[in-house]
């Protein structure tokens, strides 16, 4: 009984040190649903942006393994 109580107290003490994580409930995600929160807000431009990303990053070992960074694809 003593050991259980000690363990419980220890668990409580340790939980105070843990990071306080806030769980966003599904009904609280209105701001996440906004267009500006999207990773690619303009779908039409996503492909072009992807291409530019490859050109820019390829020489540094970016997303593509077959591009040299010249942008001539």
């Amino acid at each position: 009984m003593k050991t259980t109580s000690l363990l419980l107290l220890l668990a409580l003490f340790m939980s105070a040190c843990s990071e306080k994580l806030v769980r966003v409930m599904p009904y609280e995600k209105e701001y996440f649903a906004e267009d500006k929160m999207s990773l690619s807000p303009i779908a039409e431009r996503a492909e072009q942006e992807g291409h530019i990303f490859l050109i820019r990053e390829a020489s540094a070992g970016g997303e593509s393994s077959f591009q040299g960074g010249c942008g001539c694809r």
Partner: protein, 164 residues
């Protein structure tokens, strides 16, 4: 040890969401279109109710809404009512969307600014719907958007509850 176990179980029970067989949550909310008009859940006594929690920013909610309009139309002469609880931060967004889909305002639309219902039901997803029988008991829990097939199953359950 027994005491500890009972405390843990009691705390779990306190935070548990209403499930099938539990009593539905009682509420009083304003109407979505006219917020000076209040709606009490007590007025639903004796009716089969589909309580739906939705928002205009939720894609699944938008998809199922036309199906709800059709469903309410089909059961318009029965003691069946679809009650929508909108949880948008701004009621205008909910009104704008709903007035396009439900032009005749056949669905009971309420505004839940403080998200009282989703909190009480601890909705694990959006949209969430709860089928409540004439005695105020939860008889069905539907998490996520209801498609045509799910609506067909729902119709069967509603007819069964209405004794048709």
């Amino acid at each position: 040890m027994k005491k500890l176990l009972s405390i843990v179980l009691l705390s779990v029970a306190l935070f548990a969401a209403p499930r099938v067989g539990d009593n539905a949550v009682k509420f009083e909310l304003p109407d979505l279109y006219a917020q000076n008009i209040s709606f009490k859940s007590a007025s639903l006594k004796g009716k089969v109710v589909l309580l739906n929690m939705w928002a205009s920013w939720c894609g699944g909610c938008q998809e199922e809404m036309p199906l709800f309009v059709e469903l309410q139309k089909e059961f318009s002469k029965s003691k069946f009512e679809i009650v929508l609880a909108n949880i948008d931060n701004e009621a205008k967004n909910g009104v704008d969307f709903l007035s396009k889909v439900d032009k005749k305002r056949s669905l009971t639309a309420l505004y839940d600014a403080d998200k009282i219902l989703p909190k009480a039901y601890r909705c694990p997803g959006m949209p969430s719907s709860f089928l409540i029988d004439q005695n105020g008991k939860v008889v069905g829990v539907y998490i996520g958007s209801l498609d045509t097939e799910a609506i067909l199953d729902l119709k069967k359950t509603i007819k069964k509850l209405l004794g048709k």
